[in-house]
Amino acid sequence: MLDPIILFFLLGLISGLLRSELRLPRSIYELLSILLLLAIGLKGGVELAKQPFLELLPQMVAVVLMGFVLPLIAYPMLLHLGRFKRVDAASIAAHYGSVSVGTFAVAVSYLAARNIFFEPYMPVFVVLLEMPAILVGIMLAKGISKDTQWGMVAHEVLLGKGIVLLAGGLIIGWVVGPEGIVSIKPLFIDLFKGVLALFLLEMGIITAGQMGSLRSYGLFLIGFGIVAPVIFGLLGALLGFFFGLSEGGITIMAVLAASASYIAVPAAMRLSVPEANPSLSLTASLGITFPFNILFGVPLYHMYAQYLLSMA
């Protein structure tokens, strides 16, 4: 069964590679992101209402820990194997320790199309995973230097569009509950898949643009952009398995670990570690890992989950 949203991504990718003039206006791209973030938050929040919050605490702590550990695994690979400069290795590591909401949305849609349940509080983990990798990345690049404006970094990330909308949606969904969102469902829930399709059309075009810089950066970056998610995905799946999550939940945990940020982290790194080459990390996360995850990663992580559960 071929999901139309994947075809929209390919349509964007191909027309981008063929240098078509097709392009979504920037403000439309922003509208689509806003709708996706709010929809994911709202859906999660409504389900959260049914959940005793305290039971989640240990899992939340573990997820935050994962956000600290992943970049620490990526960093030495990039520094020693990839022979990147320290600042670049640190910056790329931060991207891969964090998470891509676009990839998360595709995974949600993948599971929904197959009627596979997943624990509804996953968006909480997305929120939790944004920040830690950025902190690690900055410290790897600069040490615990006094001239890092931590306040500014925290403000930039915690009050960035991503977290505000996701967390805001979660809270609103949680407060109003299932009946409360009936009236706004037509916009946020019913249109979700169509909005995701348009979003991926534009992501395909953007990805095609990033692929142009691939040549300049050599094979290692391409390899890293594929191997890292495959490994990190497994770590994420294992963590989900130890949490005792469902098949869908394990898949999503793998996706969170395997996906790399291309919005919040690049912006934060540009301000805090300006010496790092932004095009290097963006090419990896957006030009390689994002399309890999969309096209091959999500089904792979689903197999991880099935395999782990079949072993149990």
Binding site: R23, R26, I206, G209, I263, P266, A267, R270, L271, P274, E275, P278, S279, L282
Partner: protein, 108 residues
């Protein structure tokens, strides 16, 4: 001090990454800028193409008008702070300002 008779001031134009627009504007105000004008732009320079369509590659064009002395001070500070690690181009030229009569010497 500016050529007060003829109201000649310096206009500084800064082309740079949109990612640091707020930072740059705050810095300029700290350095004493009484105003600025900023515009979204696309561009190309020695740091590559910035076509404004995607966050990190968006571009901005900032103008600040002030006395030559102040503008030179700001330009030096900008260069010091951003030239090394960010896409940025700064140039200056003279402009004759039509003065506000009731704001006598406001840009001095």
């Amino acid at each position: 001090m500016a050529d007060a008779e003829k109201n000649i001031y310096k206009l500084m134009t800064i082309m740079t990454e949109a990612a640091i627009e707020n930072d740059v504007l705050n810095e300029l105000v700290k350095l004493g800028a009484k105003g600025y004008t900023s515009i979204d732009a696309r561009g190309k320079g020695h740091r590559g193409v910035r076509n404004a369509a995607w966050g990190l590659s968006a571009n901005v064009r900032i103008e600040v008008m002030d006395t030559e002395e102040n503008v030179r001070k700001m330009a030096a500070a900008m260069k010091e702070r951003y030239y090394r690690n960010y896409a940025m181009l700064i140039f200056l030229h003279d402009v004759e300002v039509i003065p506000h009569d009731d704001l006598e010497g406001v840009w001095e």
